[in-house]
Assembly symmetry: D2
Homo-oligomer: 326 residues x 4
């Protein structure tokens, strides 16, 4: 089955993924992880919330840590091209019977809260407070030197359905894994901003967030982070890597934050701005799609994810359709 094509003239214009809001059970522990260890920069904080940005980002936040009783993800947020696109988005979701909500978010302009076809909470905005550039204040660089948020990766109970939904709002598939027997998608990577993905979907108990990725300058920064984490009490937070993904060709490392939210450190994928870029198909039986160098991922990597607050995860589906050992 040919991979579905995106809507080339989508109903509203999404620029890129923007930020994630995590519920963290212990803000001090989360701060030690994200700020002192990974090297994200604090842009604001109080007793209940910490706002973070990467070193090349000028928007106010790419991560919001919100104190709460249980680990969860409050929303995946995306930036649109203009105020007008917010209104178009609201109409589009309403027309499809999807409830929309205008919410107040500090440091942001008008923000539209909706849910995707499986209940993933999405928030769209155009305007966010802009901060002065710090990418040449090199004394601030430490940890893994995270430059910017790169993508989300989500578990979904039906990858074909998720891809169809995101295609319809303009996301383009760059790479995908297909099960040659069932002809169903096993996983897919979709972008808006010109990299391999802004969001990816993998077959599993969902909707859940598999990981959030940050872009770093070179593989050596990832090696530095491994050295740092393994000698500062974070050895058990290292889950998988370092390695080269077959899919995306990126150099990667997966680590877990103190609440178990999975973070990917990522660099070296490729430019995808051409509208006629052909998606790359991978065989579900090809182990190199996950790690070009052949090392398998640990079992936890296929099973563990973060739930979205207020969204029911499709456990029954899981039971009906057991996860194939990938």
């Amino acid at each position: 089955m040919p991979i579905p094509q995106p809507n080339l003239y989508p109903p509203f214009n999404i620029v890129r993924l923007s930020h994630v809001e995590f519920v963290a059970t212990d803000l001090a522990a989360s701060r030690a992880f994200y700020v002192d260890t990974l090297g994200l920069q604090v842009t604001d904080e109080d007793s209940g919330t910490i706002y973070l940005r990467g070193l090349e980002e000028r928007g106010h936040h790419c991560v919001i840590l919100k104190k709460g009783p249980a680990a969860a993800v409050n929303a995946l947020s995306l930036k649109v091209y203009s105020e007008e696109d917010l209104d178009k988005a609201a109409v589009w979701f309403e027309t499809r019977g999807n409830p929309v909500e205008w919410v107040d978010r500090p440091y942001q302009g008008r923000t539209l809260r909706v849910h995707d076809n499986f209940g993933t909470p999405l928030e769209f905005y155009f305007r966010m407070d802009r901060l002065p550039p710090i990418h040449q204040q090199y004394k601030l660089y430490h940890g893994v030197k995270p430059l910017r948020i790169d993508h989300f990766n989500c578990f979904t109970p039906d990858v074909d359905a998720s891809v169809a939904f995101y295609n319809s709002i303009g996301f383009r598939v760059t790479e995908y894994t297909e099960d040659d027997e069932s002809k169903k998608l096993w996983a897919a990577w979709l972008h808006r901003k010109g990299g391999v993905h802004d969001i990816a979907f993998t077959n599993g108990v969902g909707p859940r967030l598999h990981h959030t990725a940050f872009w770093v300058p070179t593989p050596l920064n990832i090696i530095d982070l491994l050295d740092l984490m393994s000698t500062t009490g974070y050895l058990k937070n290292i889950e998988r890597g370092p390695g080269r993904h077959g899919i995306s060709n990126a150099f990667f490392l997966y680590v877990l934050d103190p609440d178990g939210h999975r973070i990917e450190i990522y660099c070296s994928d490729y430019q995808t701005v051409d509208p006629d870029l052909e998606p790359i198909k991978w065989d579900l039986k090809d182990p190199q799609r996950q790690t070009l160098w052949g090392a398998p991922a640990p079992r936890s990597w296929f099973e563990h994810g973060s739930v979205f607050a207020g969204t029911k995860t499709d456990e029954p589906l899981l039971k009906a359709q057991p996860i194939i050992a990938p």
Copy 2:
């Protein structure tokens, strides 16, 4: 004076810079330079022409070397979003009294040839032959491991006028240098594809091409190229670098091909997809804008460029307005 803003809804949609056609006086010498030394991949060649691509590119060519009697640049080429955009572009140029020409270019679909406001030859196309991916055929990687073409940089007799022209077709300024006395732009960097630039303009005898840049994975690849060139007979082709630009924050090296066409090897700039990204202003008197580390560029770097075949370079203007020692 505030930097002019781009046309957010431009008359036609340009995806990115695409390729350059150089006239080369000795194809074997150029091949030794671009293929054996830099590491670009040959996609086709005969006695008169060589087509090259970078390691992550799937379009047929990013450089065309055409045998000819004198070094020159035949055209700067750009990819548009759809066939329809080609027709819109033709109308737009014609409406402004700018002659348009539909030309045949091997491995490309319909191609529109026009000239910008100062006579720079531009060619627009949508469709180019797509080739299988080679970015994971690592045995092909050598030289500086060039991944893709990144940008053009041009001398222009009037940067403000060039910026106004490219703004009108949707290019956005990311960084610029302004002369605080005259309030005129000294140089500007403009993008379409989400990096710091697809094209830049510098005050000088123009229109001429200052350089064409290729993106490489890390600064270490640039060090490798320096080691290689300095021990294989290309010592005199190394013009400037390695260094970190203040503007763009990129790590750079400038080398000259056998005909004197300047090539920049470039990595590490930043993502610019946000439509509200504020341009960064640099002072003409700040030496760090050129090299963050303070080392000056050689005189040749400010004066030497490649002429466009068939385009008159504005020598008189040069005499009237001497180049400020930058």
Copy 3:
């Protein structure tokens, strides 16, 4: 138990490990591995033998590949400080009842063949043909850019006995693993040349060669080799890594040659020339001693090794003293 100290004024002066002679069953396959893939340089070859050196080495060979019917190691070779040291070595071994043999080795001066306390064949020489430097002929650098041989690592049935033997001829322990219960050494790293080791010993069925290591410039070269091997038919030859050793602090990768001889690619250990450098002790129960980042080694890494031609490996000992899961 304090780690035994070396003989500070040893009976003869060993400069460093020098080279290994492998029996290879298919020279063409071995050449493709060592030369085309790893990047070692051929210094001489005929139908039965290939001589190799690293890119900064000026001695004629660091690896000899000898065609033969079954994979084996013919000898581990070491360079001494002078011709006089060869004679002192001969006397020292003879005095201890260890048979000595003067053998002819192409491209070498007088060569003394002996066996260590467990039967490992050792060859000592002072003079080897010196070749012109090639370390600045950067066009020769490819593969993993191997600069020089770094060390041998051997299985031994009794690490304490092996350390005592090599201490007596001047090797100094830099790091070691001790079993806190039995107070026996589990593994030890010993040097002559000022790095972490020229030779190391690990508890196991021995004597056998566990691996031979080559020094490379940076961890990025190791990543390059992984990308290359995993896309040129050598995926199954990647055994372990990349990673950071706790012991030695080196960045490593283990690969297997076509005959199963294990090669370590290694960089970033530390200088050990001080005669009062304290050995670092590791606990057998500390998983970070093997991989600082916590990833376990595969089972094959603990069990597989290369036999020495003509030397009986101590299988019975193995059965009497089962290998502790490390």
Copy 4:
């Protein structure tokens, strides 16, 4: 003229260069430079003195900063192999009419102070306080991640005479520049510890210290330091580089401390332990000997150096024999 060979069995056994004592006029400024910017580790400090070590060093200090009224170098220090070697050294210097002095140095055992043939103050010791390893406490790594002191480089009024002196105490020349007309040495690099040099000599007003070098992991650390220094007020302290030396093949950067003491950041030279390693000869007229990539050094680099406290620098000689433009 063949380069003189070292004394293979020198009168006393020097292990390596060990440390330098700088007179600093403003300890706070020096601390900001060496500790906060370069990343050396403080091992002790009070109002008059700061002791520093590199990240892999276990000896107490490789740099001593001593508050004083005028920038100077108090001594270059070297470690010998045993207490006995100290006594042998004392005898050797006394026998040659060179006054010897036993001095007290904190954190060191018996220390012998002498002067070389041109008056350079040298101090020899065997025992220094040993500190626990910190090379795997990765949270301490910052700045350029300096691992260890690597070498001294000195101006001398007569390179041949300096080389003859250091040859006689066991230093071996690895590379040298000879003036083909006068047949005199222009510069020479000599080692004890198995790298390209522990000490080098260059023709110039001397004796003065040209620079002290520190070893860092990779060229990327040097790029990081350039980014840091150029954005934290140290732009003018960057004197030369980054580049690749022809001689030594090392990747380098030269920076000046707040008192003008020159520091080289250095990596990637080669192993020189073989006693029969042939010295590499460079032509005085070959510009690649200084920078393989062809960029010239600034004039200051040939002229500026640090005086040794209490030692008369040979100004008259300079006038008689003008420095050749190198």
